[in-house]
């Protein structure tokens, strides 16, 4: 430890770093780099790339019945991404470094415009991520509504069969990519430095780069719709992949771009947690949310390169005419399946672990109890993270695996339920005999346990080969992963948003609207997806726009519930608009009486988070403990005792 609790008193006044210039909006700022210039440069890049691609490959890479050239489409998307990054300013620093320069006069915008720029403040990046993932979620949600509309009737169709599968594919891909960053991006970037007592991220430029790459990836995947979509679902299986139209290039290239965003986000988070923990923040005092972030960061950093490689090989198949996934020319479609799922199963935990982290962080606050078996929770997360690399072949039990290998992967898959179960039991232990305050964030956390129980238990069933063979490719599997990802992660994300928004914006959210949002979302989520277990067991396959007549009642019930579920998110949007913009109400600095370090700094949070780097004395879970130790020494601020926030208050304004 380098900083003692005894602080020198004569400190200089706080000033921004020398090469950072503060600006509240100068004349001519609109000429500098921002999202507008990024869009323009991206558009110009697209045109340039398309022209160049046609020039190079007009006799080489034509795609049948599409009027498109694969090289033109690939170069258009590549140049669009480069143009986008150039336009937003992401490449200023790497280019300046080549001539040995520091970027000159990086402007630290303080007004609204900072949210539309390449900003190095982790709090701004966190907010930018919130908007980006909500945009992803909105688009994917609209496509889900289209799917449920089509499934209202097995014989009267809204869409053609091929249009339907393209909608399903786009929905799945957008949602999975959104879910991979939905917590790490917004809440991880915003709160990890605050929770570990750091003033900054280790690599703020890499952090900002991850955001703008993530957004670029969204545009690329979305562009598939303009190229006629892709028919493979989110898994992109070959050989259908190699036979598909130009929309498939958007899918492959989009995955490659987003995987770069995921790698960089995970890399930065991991390095920050390892190195920037405040003095005294030993591994046994690290908040459980931070544990979930480092476990997720490890997966992001190590699994995403495999997705990048798989996407790159797919693009080479379509442009350079290689045959990685073409069995007739010495390749193998199973190669894609193996590479994809080697990334794809850790991806499931990239989505699940942050949800556990949020819940583990929130429930002690509303139970006023220490987190039960904290060390087991942390060990469980690391265990899940490690084991997730050894289970991928259960996705290909019926395709591309030696049948003799099935028992091994059945076993590893069942093994992973053990650390997952630990994490679940940590939650149950914390809830046991607690005097729970049923605030909106807590309700979302309780829902996570309910939903994840159904999702998790059905997952254990699916790991068994006989069950897997029976229900594979049907609505049972679909319901299982919606219960784990939406029922687990997305509920946790909203719980986290309701919990931390007062700190992020300084404004309180409307409790009544929050309760309406929660109950409608919880009820209609279950009414939408529970019938799908039954529909699946009755034999309805996924990704098919028609089904047996006797399943119409269940499908209609599920569809109507899905529309109501979609409407529940409008309540959230209304709450956000109302409480943040129309009738903003100032939030108390610590409305939930949390002991988390992030709540102990001022609201709004200063640019450098903490005036003095805190010295941590204990973990943040000593709720309701008599004689609880001092939480941390904040230098020139009065020390916060763990017991001082350990009231049984039911009024958040107290």
């Amino acid at each position: 430890m380098t900083i003692s609790a005894e602080r020198p008193v004569d400190v200089e006044a706080s000033v921004p770093p020398a090469n950072v210039e503060a600006s509240k909006g100068r004349a001519g700022d609109w000429l500098s780099q921002h999202i507008g210039t990024a869009i323009i440069c991206g558009f110009l890049g697209y045109i340039l790339g398309h022209w160049l691609g046609n020039y190079i490959g007009n006799t080489y890479g034509n795609i049948a019945n599409s009027g498109q050239n694969s090289i033109a489409v690939t170069l258009a998307l590549l140049f669009m991404v480069i143009g986008w990054l150039l336009g937003i300013g992401a490449l200023n620093y790497p280019l300046a470094k080549m001539i040995g320069r520091q970027p000159k006069g990086e402007v630290e915008y303080t007004g609204w415009s900072r949210y539309f720029r390449y900003n190095l403040d982790h709090k701004v990046v966190g907010i930018q991520y919130v908007v980006a993932v909500l945009g992803f979620f909105f688009t994917g949600g609209l496509l889900a509504m289209a799917i449920r509309t089509e499934l209202l009737n097995p014989t009267v169709h809204v869409f053609a069969a091929d249009t339907y599968i393209k909608i399903v594919s786009e929905h799945g891909t957008i949602m999975m990519m959104m879910a991979s960053s939905v917590v790490v991006g917004p809440l991880g970037n915003y709160f990890v430095p605050l929770m570990i007592g750091s003033r900054r991220m280790a690599f703020p430029r890499i952090e900002a780069f991850s955001l703008w790459t993530f957004v670029a990836g969204y545009f690329v995947i979305f562009s598939a719709l303009f190229f006629g979509g892709f028919p493979t679902g989110w898994t992109g299986y070959a050989p259908l992949q190699t036979q598909a139209g130009p929309g498939m290039i958007s899918y492959l290239f989009g995955f490659a771009v987003i995987s770069v965003g995921m790698m960089t986000a995970g890399f930065n988070l991991a390095v920050t947690i390892i190195n920037y923990r405040a003095p005294g923040m030993t591994w046994s005092r690290v908040p459980v949310f931070v544990w979930s972030m480092i476990a997720t960061a490890a997966l992001l950093t190590l699994a995403s390169p495999v997705l990048f490689a798989a996407g790159t090989f797919g693009i080479l198949d379509r442009t350079a005419q290689t045959a990685f996934y073409v069995a007739e020319h010495g390749g193998s479609s199973y190669l894609w399946e193996n590479l994809f799922w080697f990334f794809g199963h850790p991806e499931v935990y990239i989505m699940a672990l942050p949800g556990f982290g949020i819940v583990g962080e929130i429930i002690p606050v509303f139970c006023r109890k220490p987190l039960f078996a904290y060390r087991i929770a942390a060990a469980g997360m690391i265990g899940v993270s490690l084991l997730s690399f050894f289970v991928w072949q259960h996705h290909i039990f019926q395709s591309g695996i030696d049948p003799d290998m099935r028992p091994l992967f059945m076993l590893t898959t069942e093994l992973i339920s053990i650390p997952t179960g630990f994490i679940f039991l940590v939650g149950m232990g914390t809830l046991y005999k607690a005097r729970i305050r049923y605030e909106v964030p807590m309700l979302f956390c309780m829902a996570v346990y309910f939903n994840f129980l159904l999702g998790g238990v059905s997952g254990v069933f699916l790991s068994d080969v006989p069950v897997n063979v029976t229900v594979h490719g049907g609505f049972f599997v679909l319901s299982h992963f919606h219960y784990t990802i939406m029922g687990g992660l997305i509920f946790a994300f909203f719980g986290g948003l309701y919990f931390w928004l007062p700190k992020m914006t300084g404004r309180t959210t409307n409790k009544k609207l929050g309760l309406w949002h929660f109950w409608t979302m919880f009820v209609f989520f279950n009414l939408t997806f529970f019938p799908m277990f039954v529909i699946g067991l009755l034999g309805q396959p996924r990704r098919v726009f028609t089904y047996a007549k006797n399943l119409q009642g269940l499908n209609d019930f599920s569809s109507v519930s899905a529309f109501c579920l979609g409407a529940s998110f409008l309540i959230f949007v209304a709450n956000l608009m109302w409480s943040q913009f129309i009738a903003p109400e100032k939030s108390p600095s610590n409305p939930w009486d949390s002991l988390g370090l992030e709540w102990q700094t001022a609201t709004p949070i200063p640019a450098y988070n903490f005036e003095r780097i805190p010295v941590i004395m204990t973990d943040p879970y000593h709720y309701s403990e008599v004689g609880a130790p001092v939480l941390a020494d904040f230098g020139n601020a009065p020390p916060v005792h763990a017991a001082s926030a350990a009231t049984d208050s039911t009024d958040p304004d107290q």
Binding site: P17, V271, T272, F324, E328, Y608
Partner: protein
């Protein structure tokens, strides 16, 4: 360095921030190796998967091989860049700043030349990219190797450019060897880069053997 330390920091805080920064360069370099290992492992997996499945006996008809003269030259140049960086770092530790700079410049030139050759090799491969499993994975290897050599060249070039700037900014007799925060950060970056380049040498050797010798 100006953006990692606040002017208002106490000496202890400055020390903490500096240690965290240097630790980040150290652990970031190692994590980057981990990330890159998984990328290269994906390529190696593809190679061995297609080789062992040998679909339609089309793994490598007639044992056709990519041009070995190109392969040896690219491999040798990459290795030269790495060896120069390792030699340079050993000289830097003994105070030989100009020798380090000279060695790294040689490394930059070697890696740029290797990059050029790796791209140019596409014009000389004696097979169609989709003619076999080997041909496909070789094209994939070439693309990833272009990326790898580009990273090597970029890291070497930006480090030596930074050393020139720092020498001017810091002044004094041996600015890069001083205890100034910027100089410490610079040396940590050199150490991290050299470690990564050692990994590149090892990986290049394995991949070279797979694609040109096996």
């Amino acid at each position: 360095m100006t953006d990692i330390i606040k002017k208002s920091d106490t000496p202890e805080e400055r020390e903490f921030e500096l240690r965290a920064h240097i630790g980040s360069i150290w652990s970031g370099g190692r994590l980057f190796i981990g990330m890159y290992t998984f990328l290269l492992a994906s390529l190696a997996f593809s190679y061995f998967y297609l080789r062992s499945s040998n679909n339609g006996l089309l793994w490598r008809p007639n044992h056709i091989t990519a041009p070995t003269a190109y392969g040896w030259t690219i491999y040798s140049l990459t290795l030269l860049a790495v060896l120069m960086a390792i030699y340079g770092q050993s000289r830097l530790r003994k105070g030989g700043v100009s020798e380090w700079q000279g060695a790294v410049w040689v490394g930059v030139v070697a890696s740029v030349f290797a990059l050029f050759l790796q791209i140019w090799e596409f014009t000389a491969v004696p097979f169609f990219p989709g003619s076999s499993g080997y041909a496909s994975t070789f094209i994939g290897y070439s693309v990833i190797n272009i990326m790898t050599i580009f990273i090597v060249a970029y890291w070497l070039e930006t480090t030596v450019a930074r050393s020139l700037r720092l020498s001017k900014e810091l002044g004094g007799t041996a600015p890069l060897l001083s205890m100034d925060a910027a100089a410490q950060s610079f040396r940590a970056n050199v150490a991290s880069m050299t470690y990564f380049l050692g990994f590149v040498a090892l990986a290049s050797t394995l991949l070279f053997a797979m694609f040109y010798l096996l």
